[in-house]
């Protein structure tokens, strides 16, 4: 267990949707610390609230009640501009479907969040990120000239280059074959190990989860289990237990 202050703290987080007459509790009182410098996986069956949890932590969605604190910043009550600024400065994203801007080169895509924020990338750090993702010779290419794995590596680099407090990855390997997927997971792992980056990944793949330090299991909007130093087998077993209870 890390003793450092958490990168994000979630307290009694609730998110309810109204669907016709019935009320759906996507998050039903989640309390959780996302520890700094660790690689955390959020898992759970469809509808368990794992995506909603990530969206709320990443300032993309607003909870119905409860508290999310990213670093020192309490998200509740922040307006759109403040949330935008927070995303820009504190958070990095890796999406399932890459989401690169087709008109920009790989390099421009990597530096896009910094450019939007009006910041210049730290050249040494940029070099190191590019080196890590192994795209040195592809920087001038446009997304459609890159393979899926390469595109996702560009996306990872884009998330890392601003040195955000937390990188959120939403099923980052969902659209990739297993080899390209392993490359991307390796990248995220190394960013944690070598640069102390905090990474939170939503996934339903036990193989992907096995790359992380800790797995948080959600079911019906609640944390039902956590696993330290998970393996594929322990994850499968825990998931089976959750499914059995559900």
């Amino acid at each position: 267990m890390s003793t450092a202050a958490p990168a994000a703290r979630v307290r009694d987080l609730r998110k309810t949707y109204r669907e016709g007459d019935s009320v759906v509790h996507a998050l039903d009182g989640v309390t959780l610390d996302l520890e700094a410098g660790r690689f955390t996986a959020v898992m759970g069956p469809s509808g368990s609230g794992k995506s909603t949890l990530m969206h709320c932590c990443a300032a993309l969605d607003t909870p119905t009640s409860g508290s999310v604190r990213v670093g020192e910043t309490e998200l509740a009550g922040l307006g759109d501009d403040a949330l935008t600024r927070l995303r820009r400065e504190e958070i990095g994203f890796v999406f399932q479907s890459f989401n690169l801007v087709p008109t920009l080169t790989a390099e421009e895509n990597i530096t896009l969040p910094l450019a939007i924020a009006g910041r210049r990338p730290d050249p040494a750090w940029f070099d190191r990120v590019v080196e890590t993702v192994g795209l040195r010779d592809r920087l001038g290419h446009r997304p459609q000239q890159l393979s899926g794995g390469q595109q996702q590596r560009v996306a990872v680099a884009r998330a890392l280059v601003g040195r955000p407090r937390i990188v959120f990855a939403d099923e980052p390997t969902g659209n990739l074959d297993s080899r390209a997927g392993a490359e991307v997971l390796g990248l995220l792992r190394r960013s944690v190990d070598e640069a102390g980056q905090t990474v939170v990944m939503v996934t339903h793949d036990p193989v992907a989860a096995a790359w992380t330090d800790r797995v948080v299991l959600l079911a019906d909007g609640r944390v039902v289990d956590t696993l330290e130093q998970p393996t594929r087998e322990s994850v499968l077993e825990a998931m089976g237990r959750v499914a059995g209870e559900g």
Binding site: D81, T84, F95, L112, A115
Partner: protein, 864 residues
Amino acid sequence: MLRYALRSLLGRKVRLLMSTLAVVLGVAFVTGTLVFSATLDRSFSTLFDATVGDVVVEPVAGGSPRRPEAAVPQSLVEDLADLPGAARADGRIRVIGVYVVGTDGKPVGGFGPPALAGTTGDAPAANGTTGLVLVAGREPRGLGEIVVDDVTAARAGYEIGDQVPLVSAFDDATLTATMVGLYGFPGGGSMNGASFVGVEPAVAQRFFLDGADAWTTAWVTAAPGTSQAELAAQVAAVLPDGLRAVTGDEAAADAASALLRAVSFLTTFLLVFAGIALVVGAFLIVNTFSILVAQRSRELALLRALGASRRQVTGSVLVEAGVMGLVGGTVGLGLGLLTAVALQALFAALGLDLSGQALVVTWTTPAAAYAVAVLVTMTAALLPALRTTRIPPVAALRDDVALPEGSLRRRGVLGVVGVAAGAGLITLGLRPDLPGHWWWLALGVLAVLLGTTAAAPLLARPVLRALGLAYERALGTVGRLAALNTLRQPRRTAGTASALMIGLTVAGTLAIVGASAKASVDATIAETFPGDHLVSSAFGAPFSTSLAGRVAGVEGVGEVVRERLDRITWAPVSASTEEGTEEGTEEGTEEGEDLPVAATDADDADVLRLTVLDGAVDLAPGLAVVQQALADERGIAAGDTLDVVTPEGPATWRVSAVVEDNPMIFADVLVGTGTYDAAGLLQQDWLLVVLVADGADPTAVGAALSEELADQPTVTVADQHAFAAAQREPIDRIVLIVYALLALALLIAVLGIVNTLALSVVERTREIGMLRAVGLSRAGLRRMVTLESVAIAVLGALLGFVLGTVFGVVLMRALREEGLEVVAVPVGQLLAFLVAAVVVGVLAAVLPARRAARQDVLTALASE
């Protein structure tokens, strides 16, 4: 398949309506024009029959017979009434130049339609219609009483019993009389903007014909069973020399022709508007359908995969276009009827009251509306529809479906060919010696326009790149993203910009023509302005000779030179020295063409700044000076003779000089006052040139002149500066039309840009979500969309700017022969157009930008 097409249409109705709007506007102009013309046609016969008799007897020579000898004597009128085919005959007096001064101190009426005065009476008008007769009050009796036509009285603000001030071009410049009755057309008919002041016949004879028992014209009414032509033949047989008989139908047609010209100008103008709207609309439709087909390619591929044939898929797109055309045609038809009503109101304001006539809608009007609308939309949708055939059914299963964008090379080749061919044609068109050079010019302009449109996606790249650099420098990444977005699909961007391009091309061309025309006017006036001040009629009509004496009496006035103007006719065999003999006049039946003649005192000719081309200016009796235009047209040189018919009979004048065209001489032929008076022409002045006495202050004299003539609202005093300003005024009015055109073009362009942006925003939903997720603020996103919009607008404006300037200069070159020698490029105005384009860009982006910014980040990210 049909149901599918309709469903998909309903799903995008707002968007499709927007692209139809240009078509709606075009159709509205077309139908409005058609309906108005039909209505006008229907009411024309009543309108003009009421203003003529069955047979009109009038002097052969033009001009107003001021002298009793030239008029129709009462004895003749009595003889005419006794003709077997005549039911009755009425002598009438009609003169031009008596203005009713309104309660606001301004004369009623405007430019063009005459201010008539004459006799009252109840003479039946042509074809059994009722003419201008008493409709209220009573007939005038004696000197101090008049009747006024009801429209003029209403416009002037007088009631029966009021004292009405008049300004006349006759001996008494100002008069006041009691209005005792109103005249009007109870059976339909219109003064067509003219005003009428009627007095008792004896009073009219005293005022206008020196008291002779005679008339300026006579109306002969046909007895039942006698046709106009039969009666005219009977009348002609008893007429003395110098008078002729015209059937009412001919006279009505003559009277109508001037109005028809004005109307045809307006309808041509509206049809040009319609044409531009439709062409631009077609561009928008091509663009919209291209985008829709591209966006729906997965859906269309699915249809193909489910077994729809190529033809069915293409057909479904065309059906959508056809339905759009029908909707556009219907809305346009409705708007067109409103346009016709508006035109009626416009004409009523100008004095042509058609309110009694219901709108005439023949079957051709809706047929034309729907034909135009459906044809334009379906033709425009054809290319995008055909492109759907390239979608393979398997595309339904692929993730990234994009229609293959063909290479732009073909566009480039088309562009180069079009522009080169156009340049060649324009070169031919600039050679006035070639027959039909205007056609070559028009074809050339069209070819250049089409070539540029074809090549626009290629031309767009450097422009957008440059803009992108500027954006990036000024606004950073958001700017760069915006510029790159416009470069994604150069065809789409260029297609959208084309709408603006065409509008600004037309506006730019006309702006240059307008500015050049104004510069030409200024240059000509600077060259020819005589004396220090001009006293002229504000209405392009003559004024009383008594004013010259009053002007001469103003302190500081040195000399006053008058110019008079009247109309005579050429001798039936056109004048030239080669023909020599005058056998033509013996026939007496053949009419000569009208010939306006101006006159000034022989010793004052040097005040008018005439530039002699041939001979030496001499205005002694029997001599004439001819302006270049007429000399060129008729091959006249100094020493030749002119054979003319004057109210005093045939005359032969010798040409002393040919001079350069001079706008201060109001007719092609200038004679001395002696020659003019001997010809029995109208004793009214058109222009007084005032020379300030030595040592007097011209400005002070000008003010004194204005004060002296304050009671004459029909005349103005102007120095060179003011005169030039007044002359530029009609051109300014044309410039206003340019702005109307520009507004129309901008409106359509806004729709096009809104459409394209809205579609692009939808297409890029997920990308926009990502940008928001990685930290682009709402304001930043809005700015990005706005910048895209501005880039499209600026692209269109720049292309239009260049084309408009080129076309404008080319047109001015072509017009050089017409005396428009100065080419002025109103840079300020053209730049203002550019600014307007930027504003348009900003406005067009408002809705799409808001839509993009409002998009929920998560939903956007989750979208396909």
